[in-house]
Amino acid sequence: MTLLYFAWVRQKIGRSEERLVLPEGVRTVGDLLAHLGARGGGYGEAFADTSRLRAALNQAHVGLDAVVRDEDEVAFFPPVTGG
């Protein structure tokens, strides 16, 4: 799967994109978020407070309960502030 990070999520992690093979035990966006946060460091900081995070699955807004597959594009970012 492709992971994308934007705004301060990107800054804390230190990269904007990475590839990942769907890890064992990861079924939902929430699982994926917990898996990444457990890496610690910048990931730990970026994913510490899920209330400040939003996610998109294949370029559509989703909740943490959305199911992810290995071929998906998943993005993590703060609440949007455009317009």
Partner: protein, 149 residues
């Protein structure tokens, strides 16, 4: 109905966009528009806009289609800028054309409300040497929510 959606670093000419909508069809009687501008809030000197290429256009297209379904529109234009902008620079243009003003105003406000809460843009404010990511406003969520009622 034509809809033009554009994400670009360059500035836009709101007058030319409005004129294009006005002349799109002989039935156009009203063009309502909105231009968002970089404010000098608390000493902001400039701002950098980041977005999620691909998803941005999809989200805007989705809400443009919803606006078309809700109101009898004759044309819609959404232009959102990205990159570094100075105080007073235009950030976004939303313009809606219809036979009468009520539909044009409603569609324009609807699209601005949804751009603010759904389109994947993020603003990084610069104050002198410091930078801060802008926080989402609860008022914007409320403004978008009213269209669901």
């Amino acid at each position: 109905m034509s809809a033009r959606i554009q994400v670009q670093t360059d500035d836009f000419d709101a007058g030319a966009e409005i004129a294009t909508l006005a002349e799109a069809s002989g039935g156009v009687g009203a063009v309502a528009s909105f231009v968002g501008v970089v404010r000098s809030t608390d000493g902001v000197t400039s701002m950098t806009l980041e977005h999620y290429p691909g998803m941005t256009e999809r989200e805007i297209a989705h809400h443009v289609a919803e606006a078309q379904a809700r109101w009898p529109l004759l044309g819609l234009t959404v232009i959102h800028r990205i990159g570094k902008l100075a105080v007073g620079d235009a950030i976004v243009l939303v313009a809606a054309a219809s036979a009468h003003r009520q539909a044009a105003f409603a569609a324009c406000e609807f699209l601005v409300d949804y751009l603010k809460t759904r389109a994947p843009f993020w603003k990084l404010e610069e104050r002198g040497g410091n930078t801060d990511w802008v926080s989402a406003r609860a008022e914007d969520d409320d403004a978008a929510e009213r269209w669901r009622r």
